[in-house]
Amino acid sequence: MSDTADKVKKIVVEHLGVEESKVTTEASFIDDLGADSLDTVELVMAFEEAFGVEIPDDAAEKITTVKDAIDYIEKQKSA
């Protein structure tokens, strides 16, 4: 697993207080991990801080799963 994926999952575990085993790559923040809309905003803010990237609102809206987050961040980092 990539560093980014590890770090993203760690942030999700910390923020949502869920079991690590539940945070699979396909997991949806809201449907599978019990996040509310405020949690997703906080997650995006945490990703921005941890990876030093800017995630504009329209992109943030599309980040609904762990995989979405990993892909977006990897793309930003390689850009």
């Binding site: 509310d36 405020l38 906080e42 803010m45």
Partner: protein, 245 residues
């Protein structure tokens, strides 16, 4: 009760009558207090009276960049951020017919937009820490309206709507957002009223006296405390009974 030991508070408009009393009250409850305003000599004088646990943080809230910078200064200077008191405000009274866009905008900018910017910047850390207090000083006229104050009343009513919305957004994070709406309080703001207007006002206040800044500060200290944890999205009217809402 109402102990604030170890908490960090920012009071804007601390050079004014009500703001100085709020800073003094929070400080007396044990908080570390950052005091803000434009007049640096007045800030220094208040800091001298308060003694330790004080940070002087001058800012002009008409500057759109000032709020975020101010919150950063306080977080860095006092090591945290627990209580935001949006107290700075000013009036530019005139009948609507004569009120230019600039008169409207200037009041909205400092009395409503700056408090929003401050709240937005403060919320980030508060939500992470799962605790915080945002208290805005509105006014009785934000609820009743007042001839000659369309701009000011709109800004103060706006603070109430803003606070109710923020309160709902962050309630699950241990952050409360409330408003204190003073009636007529004796400060520089009301000293500017003509004597006749002041005498006429007294006949409309059941307690038959104007409020003191301390009357307002007590309500703020309560809302800032742990005891007020279940009070959110509310407006406490401190007005001697002038309007019972």
């Amino acid at each position: 009760m109402f102990d604030l030991t170890g908490k960090v508070a920012l009071v804007t408009g601390a050079t004014g009558g009500i703001g100085a009393a709020i800073a003094t009250a929070l400080h007396a409850q044990g908080a570390k207090v950052a005091i803000s305003g434009r007049r640096e000599a007045e800030l220094a004088a208040l800091a001298g009276t308060l003694g330790d646990r004080v940070l002087v943080a001058p800012a002009d809230l008409a500057d759109p960049a000032a709020p975020a910078a101010l919150i950063e200064t306080v977080e860095a200077g006092l090591g945290g951020f627990d209580i935001l008191v949006n107290n700075a405000g000013f009036t530019r009274d005139m009948l609507a017919l004569r009120m230019g866009d600039a008169d409207w905008n200037a009041v909205l900018e400092v009395d409503l937009t700056a408090p929003f910017r401050l709240a937005r910047a403060a919320l980030r850390g508060m939500m992470k820490r799962r605790s915080g207090r945002i208290i805005s000083i509105a006014s009785i006229v934000g609820v009743t309206g007042n001839a000659g104050q369309a701009n000011y009343a709109a800004a103060k009513a706006g603070l109430i709507g803003m606070s109710k919305s923020l309160a709902q957004e962050v309630a699950t994070r241990g952050v409360t957002v409330n408003v204190v709406a003073p009636g007529f309080v004796k400060t520089a703001m009301t000293d500017a009223l003509p004597e006749a207007a002041r005498t006429a006002l007294l006949t409309r206040i059941p307690t038959q006296r104007m409020g003191t800044p301390e009357d307002v500060a007590g309500a703020v200290a309560y809302l800032a405390s742990a005891e007020a944890a279940w009070v959110t999205g509310q407006t406490i009217h401190v007005n001697g009974g002038m309007a019972m809402i």
